[in-house]
């Protein structure tokens, strides 16, 4: 009896700790007052101002565009890595392959961002491209570090499912590419969607790498938000937080729905 009480208390306190800050943020987004911390009354004023703030809306569109594109590319390449690591025996310099596909997971973003920026500058000195940094360079950087996350999800899924199904199909006369499209792809499709959603969210949320690789006309949403809240508070950002948290949590729920790993 006593131990189940402790158990409930630990779980309750843990969840409270995780959700309390989010609730505070949403609560203050309805504050009428310009001074964020002084409660004046319930109002949707800041939501209204948010939707009329061109800078935020514009950066939001840029971020969505970059996130959708880089998630798509990262998913294609990540699926290839996941498949290669599980199903293909002969990979030249396999340790190097594993190193390349797993290091971006643990490398601090700051180092990654710096290396990308210096790479683009050097590339420009050598071949004259890219002449300036912007959405393209952010896109390339985001693809590079999202690949690893997709690869892990696909690798886990392919390790889980039985290779015999593929072999049986081959024995029954399916050729290699037919097995891939008719058997393997449908089985890992939910994981591919889950990987895309994860890559999309990571790209949408990235501040550090984008700050390094950004240029004229490529202020992403996190860059704009960071410039607004670095030194103080902003009621518009409160309103944005509430909306964004809600949207991202929905995406997260979809991720769990598609990622079979969490179904026991």
């Amino acid at each position: 009896m006593k131990s189940s009480l402790i158990k409930s208390a630990v779980i309750f306190l843990g969840l409270f700790f995780l959700y309390f800050p989010i609730l505070v943020l949403i609560f203050y987004s309805f504050n009428e007052n310009k001074r964020v911390m002084v409660w004046k009354g319930f109002s949707l004023r800041w939501y209204n101002e948010l939707f009329n703030n061109e800078q935020i809306i514009e950066s939001f569109i840029i971020s969505i565009k970059i996130a959708a594109l880089s998630a798509t590319f990262a998913t294609i390449l990540g699926v290839m890595i996941g498949y290669s690591l599980v199903r293909i025996r002969k990979i030249p310099f396999k340790s190097f392959y594993i190193f390349l596909s797993s290091t971006p997971l643990v490398l601090p973003e700051l180092i990654l961002g710096l290396s990308m920026l210096l790479f683009f500058i050097s590339l420009n000195n050598v071949i004259g491209f890219p002449s300036s940094r912007g959405q393209l360079t952010i896109f390339i950087s985001h693809v590079t570090f999202c690949i690893a996350f997709v690869a892990i999800i696909i690798q886990a899924r392919l390790t889980d499912f039985n290779k015999n199904i593929e072999e049986a199909a081959m024995d029954l006369g399916y050729n290699y590419s037919r097995v891939l499209y008719k058997i393997t792809l449908p089985i890992i499709l939910p994981s591919i969607i889950a990987g895309w959603l994860l890559a999309f969210t990571i790209s949408l949320d990235d501040l550090v790498v984008a700050s390094f690789t950004t240029g004229p006309g490529a202020n992403t949403l996190p860059i704009v938000v960071f410039s607004k809240v670095r030194l103080g508070l902003s009621p518009e950002v409160n309103a944005l937080s509430a909306i964004l948290m809600f949207a991202l949590i929905i995406i997260g729920l979809f991720y769990f729905y598609f990622n079979k790993k969490f179904k026991h």
Partner: protein, 295 residues
């Protein structure tokens, strides 16, 4: 034989991308870190000079410079200490949570797991920002403390190292819980019962049975928290004060403020060597070892 072509395509497309956009950039960091710095744009000299015959123009000056100045080493040590403390608190909060979730019944377990990880999906930057609101002088925590009569005037909770630790533990907690849960979930609960039947008390059961079996989860979770925290830039920038400098901040300033590209590259490359390389080697060895044991 068609499949051979297919396999090549699958292996080499991402291979090409990662060599070009990941490995070469890392190589460039190394190259610039051993270049001689100078005033100008770019602020370093080429490492190969051709004007009077061929000459290699490299230096370890940049490494000597950062490793002999307490400003840089001190900041790196600060970051390591910060990461150690944060990892400890993540473990302290994360372990009981992961343990109790793993020992719940199946339906509740899945709901709880999703509930724990969902905040991780909401924006990182905004979750840090939330703590800025909570810890303000007239913020919710100070209001509670004042009303309970614990303090008579608002405490300065923001812009110090404690606020930074708070923010890190909060944002990185799900990264600790997930691998812990993964290992605890596999583990046979009957072992706990068995240990109790054999006369071990709760504390002994914890230290002799539960803890040793969850070591892989603890290691995985700690690495996932520890490494990114050492390079963390946003949280100290938003919640921290001038009381402590961290690795991320000085790397940022060395590059953007001091415009010392070779110095910043040397800092970054030292970070890779000290922090990331040991883990990558460990991972490769571990994956080889587990493959061998499977066969």
């Amino acid at each position: 034989m068609k499949n051979k072509l297919f396999e090549k395509y699958f292996v080499f497309s991402p291979y090409f991308w990662l060599v070009l956009f990941f490995f070469i950039p890392l190589a460039i960091i190394f190259k610039i870190s051993i270049s001689v710095s100078e005033w100008g744009m770019p602020p370093y000299q080429d490492i190969f000079l051709f004007d009077n015959g061929f000459k290699i123009n490299t230096t370890f000056e940049n490494y000597v410079y950062i490793f002999s100045d307490y400003y840089y080493i001190g900041s790196f040590v600060n970051s390591l200490i910060l990461a150690l403390i944060s990892t400890f608190f993540c473990l302290l909060i994360g372990f009981p949570l992961a343990f109790y979730i793993a020992t719940s019944n199946i339906r509740l377990r899945n709901i709880l797991l999703v509930l724990v990880i969902i905040p991780f999906w909401s924006s990182f930057l905004l979750r840090v920002y939330a703590w800025k609101i909570i810890l303000q002088n007239n913020g919710i925590l100070n209001v509670i403390l004042l009303n309970l009569g614990i303090t008579s005037e608002p405490l300065q909770l923001l812009y110090n190292q404690y606020a930074v630790i708070m923010g890190i533990v909060y944002t990185y907690l799900p990264l600790m819980i997930l691998p812990l849960y993964g290992y605890l979930n596999k583990f046979d609960l009957n072992l706990i019962e068995a240990s109790k039947d054999l006369g071990l008390n709760r504390i002994k059961t914890f230290f002799k049975v539960i803890l040793p079996l969850s070591v892989p989860g603890i290691v995985a979770g700690s690495l996932l928290v520890f490494i990114p925290v050492v390079g963390e830039f946003i949280i100290p920038e938003m919640l921290g004060g001038s009381d402590r400098l961290y690795y991320g901040k000085i790397l940022w300033e060395e590059f953007f403020v001091n415009r010392n590209w070779p110095g910043a590259s040397a800092l970054a490359f030292s970070g890779i060597i000290i922090l990331v390389l040991p883990i990558v080697i460990f991972q490769i060895l571990y994956s080889r070892w587990s493959q061998k044991n499977e066969i």
